[in-house]
Amino acid sequence: MGNEAIARGIIEAGCSVATAYPGTPSSEILESLTRWKKEMGHNIYLEWSINEKVAFEVAYGASLAGARSAVTMKMVGLNVASDPYLSATYLGVRGGMVLIVADDPGPHSSQTEQDSRFFAWLAKAPVLDPSTPAEALQMIRRAYELSEKYEVPVMLRPCLRVCHSRQNVTLNDPVDSTYAGPFKKNWTRWAAIPKFRLALHAELNKKLEKMTQEEPECSLFLEHQGSSDKLAIITSGSVSSHVFDLIREEPQFAMFNVFRINMPFPANKAALQSIVDNHQKTLVIEETYPVIELQIDDRRKLVGRLSGLVPSQGELTPEVVEDVILEAIGEKPRTRPDVQIKARRPSLCAGCPHRSSFFMLRKVFDKGIYPGDIGCYTLGTNMGAVDTCLCMGASIGMASGFTHAQLEESRPPVVATIGDSTFFHAGIPALINAVHNKASFTLVLMDNSVTAMTGGQVTPASEQLADGSEGTPVDIEAMIRACGVKFLEVVDPYNFEELQASFERSYEYSVNKSMGVSVIITRRPCIRVKGVQLSSDRYTVLDNCERCMTCIRDLECPAISFEKESKSVVIDSDTCSGCGFCVSVCPCGSITRKVS
């Protein structure tokens, strides 16, 4: 897998510290590192950090200490880490530092289609754009060389199709961990005040200039030699692999020259311009924003995103790329079948403890406003229990806004939901802010003990660290109390009666009496966590079922469905995980445990 190849590259380059916050499509990089650390007996330090900003800062500190370091995240994670990133490029690094940011054109599993190469441009730092897993592995070593030569953090920007593609790759032996020597104090650089920042900015500009002159990655290489100057294609990264296959498979495209650039920023502008000048027309195909295109000054013979030829949103699939090339040479797009995809929506697992929390939230806080957050539990939308999803931790800040903006006469209850990992990531400042500013709402903290959506990574409350060694678990209850919260209860979401009673007390506290933020921790481990004991009980629907559909519409359990032929509600024993919550949910008492 591309992410495994990247991890391998990190190990092979002699990196000593790697940090990450999980996020699709980047999570498997640190996971692979933890596996190999064990298998190879490698002494690399690994951590799942509390968020991307901290992950960046830990890796940056390690670099200043002289070690090679790596930090990995998804692209929206870079928004969180942008503060240290944009400052670090001015200050520079000591040990090589590679920042790996996975982009998600589509988007398949993200809030935006933002292009991290643009962030590199904003930060004035180099970015490498691999087209395949094999190339990503090789680029990591090169990224460390560049980072140390120019003393800047270097970004590797793999797209989803690199991260989640598998390919056979060639492995090399790891080199010994390199060490740039102990930290040397120099406050005019490492703690620079604005006066010195100006000089550092000038220094950074010089580095970029030197890079574009000296490094081959900043210039283009001819990936496919055509026979005509009618059209040149300039491409980069993951989408260039589609271009490459199309040129080989479609004889009418074989005549065009295809150029690729491995470092889209900073590009050698003269090299780019000369391609444009030497062809009748040049087409730029890149994902997801026009980073290469904007570095070409004379765009009169250029087509791409800025000219409107390449779609400005959505993944550039092979079909889109084929039609874009056809249009560039004045031909009609291919006629393709009209594909109507009836995609099955994802759903919380059968037995997911979040499902019972959401069911009760809807039941007790009827007609409320439900700010939601990012994780598996965004799927609470299926149950009408999540009204908003903005970014990590936003449920709590937005809940405050909802309560402060409400008119006296119509005050719908506000109930925010957040997972444990997201709470640690960005929820804590928002909670302190809500308490301090006297917002009054309910916060349901759904604590399943892991970062579930991305594969069950540890959180700061876990007893184990990324590599399985013993950590210091942080007490969530103590944390919430320290935020100033006076109403805190912990319940098992499988326990219908206790869950209902706790939600009702919270309603009284935050809604009826407006006494402030009440927090309910609904605690039960994710059913996918290794070692979690699931019940072998299975359930069945009795003949007295009145088909009220509460279990299907309101509980939305994927194990329960309505069978049209028999006009009856059925429970699929293969899908069911035995939680038994549906027994309490059924208003007719028609669901019962099977006697085995």
Partner: protein, 173 residues
């Protein structure tokens, strides 16, 4: 050169099959590139993955280029039919009967006989390996599954594979 699209629902073990086919083909010395679905869709949503064996750089199968469409859920077949080439073969996990274009196997039913409906993916792969033109032989897949170090997983997968192989109806058109 061979291109396969696999489809189904999140949780059916499509990523497992994708990885297995890739590993076995790599062990044969072939070049492989594949694309998978991860993230939110794996919570029971529609899933597909692509496997391309041969000299490819792109991991995505283009529309109309797949030699095989292996569908673990009959409701997902239509969502992915456009990947199939003319005269391509569909293998579908379904209780219905086979046709000239679509070979069907009740993989879920057979896997349930083994006591684990989740083995439907390997049962289906067993059947796939008997289809003419499939890039991996039954024996290569058997060897691949034997590499699993977990005793029980290995045994169950091998049983499921044999069940899929045995289900091949000799009277197919």
């Amino acid at each position: 050169m061979s291109q396969i699209v696999l489809c189904g629902r999140g949780g059916q073990g499509i990523v497992f099959l994708t990885r297995l086919i890739g590993d076995i083909a790599t062990a044969k010395g072939l070049n492989v590139i594949s694309a998978e679905t991860h993230g939110m869709a794996v919570r029971g949503g529609s899933i597909n993955s692509c496997v391309k064996i041969g000299e490819y750089k792109s991991s995505l199968v283009r529309w109309g280029k797949a030699d095989f469409l292996i569908s673990l859920d009959e409701n997902e077949t239509e969502n992915n039919r456009h990947f199939l080439k003319e005269n391509g073969m569909i293998l579908e996990n379904s209780t219905s009967g086979s046709t000239s274009e679509t070979v069907r196997i009740d993989a879920t039913g057979l896997a349930r006989e083994l006591g684990m409906a989740q083995l439907e993916n390997v049962v289906t792969l067993g059947m796939a390996s008997t289809l003419s033109g499939f890039p991996l032989t039954t024996d290569e897949i058997r060897q691949g599954l034997m590499l699993d170090p977990r005793d029980r997983v290995r045994q169950m997968n091998l049983k499921a594979l044999e069940m899929g192989i045995a289900a091949h109806p000799s009277n197919l058109v």
